[in-house]
């Protein structure tokens, strides 16, 4: 699972193996809850196979805010980093193969790895990237119609459209399932 990343990291083999050894492999069915709302997140997940969504409950409605696929890492970032109760649920969509690591191990690794400027810069870069992604998604809510957001989704994140049930996509785009259905049928007419 992790071998393909090996040459991206300027570490001794010894250190590398020590870090990799902290990860645990699990296989879980679809609709498995990995983190409950209110819980303090103690695990970071990496997806080997499958797909995960982050969602929250608002007045009884199930609202999805993010999707994750193979090779992405997933956590409730506020909860994991700041030890706040998680505002969100994390749940598998498909049967999945995951690797998880304890927060304590992540902290230890980060503490050691900070001394390596290349890695430190890459971590800061990842943080920025996450922020930019949020900004981009957020902008689309100010400037685009739901139909345009769906069109962008098809173009930019086809995995979501192909692998995720439609009612999750609807709330992700900020519309009802009925309206997403209408958007799709209008697209087909053209």
């Amino acid at each position: 699972m992790f071998d393909k990343f090996r040459n991206n990291f300027p570490l001794t083999d010894e250190k590398w193996n020590e870090y990799i050894g902290c990860f645990n492999r699990i296989e879980v069915p679809a609709k498995t809850t990995l983190l409950e709302e209110g819980e303090i997140s103690k695990k970071l997940f990496v997806i080997e196979k499958g797909c995960i969504r982050v969602w929250f409950n608002h007045n009884g409605k199930d609202l999805t805010s993010q999707f994750f696929f193979e090779n992405q890492s997933v956590s409730s970032i506020e909860s994991f980093i700041k030890k706040f109760p998680s505002p969100v649920f994390i749940e598998t969509i498909e049967p999945s193969i995951l690797w998880w690591i304890h927060k304590e191990d992540v902290d230890t690794i980060l503490e050691e790895v900070k001394e390596i400027p290349e890695l430190r810069d890459r971590l800061i870069d990842m943080l920025f990237q996450r922020t930019f992604d949020y900004m981009k998604h957020f902008f689309s809510f100010i400037k685009d119609t739901p139909a345009q957001r769906y069109q962008s989704l098809i173009e930019e994140k086809p995995q979501i459209v192909q692998r995720v049930p439609q009612h999750y996509i609807a709330s992700y785009l900020g519309v009802t399932t009925v309206h997403l259905s209408r958007i799709k049928s209008k697209l087909l007419q053209k």
Copy 2:
């Protein structure tokens, strides 16, 4: 301007004065453009007095994405950090007193300051905070109606409602000026 922050930073007086000396004070009227779309941002601004908005043009519409007030720092973050052409304009709303610093000076300071773990951690913390703010604002677009978003704005960021012209607030909330007017008059009826 910066004296009130002095005791927050574990630096020698000499270093502190060197860093503060990099800032330049300017006074500008309302509606002054500080950064054009497409330009690469080379300045970071700190607001001593006044108020600033970040906006972009979408199909001829003026869409505001952020507001900033006293003691906040402002830049087109993607452009300033990554040297991309800025996707946004930055403009004063009120006549303002600003302090600006060159990107090169920021880079130099950051390079030196990274060696101080307290500061480094605080910088990373600020990055996270920015991300959390975006996430929160973004969530409100999925879960709340425009009327609810306006209500939250009154409660959580009263400065915006008090000091910013209404047509800027409208696009910030993702509605037309006409609809924001309706929202306000409905609130008064209750």
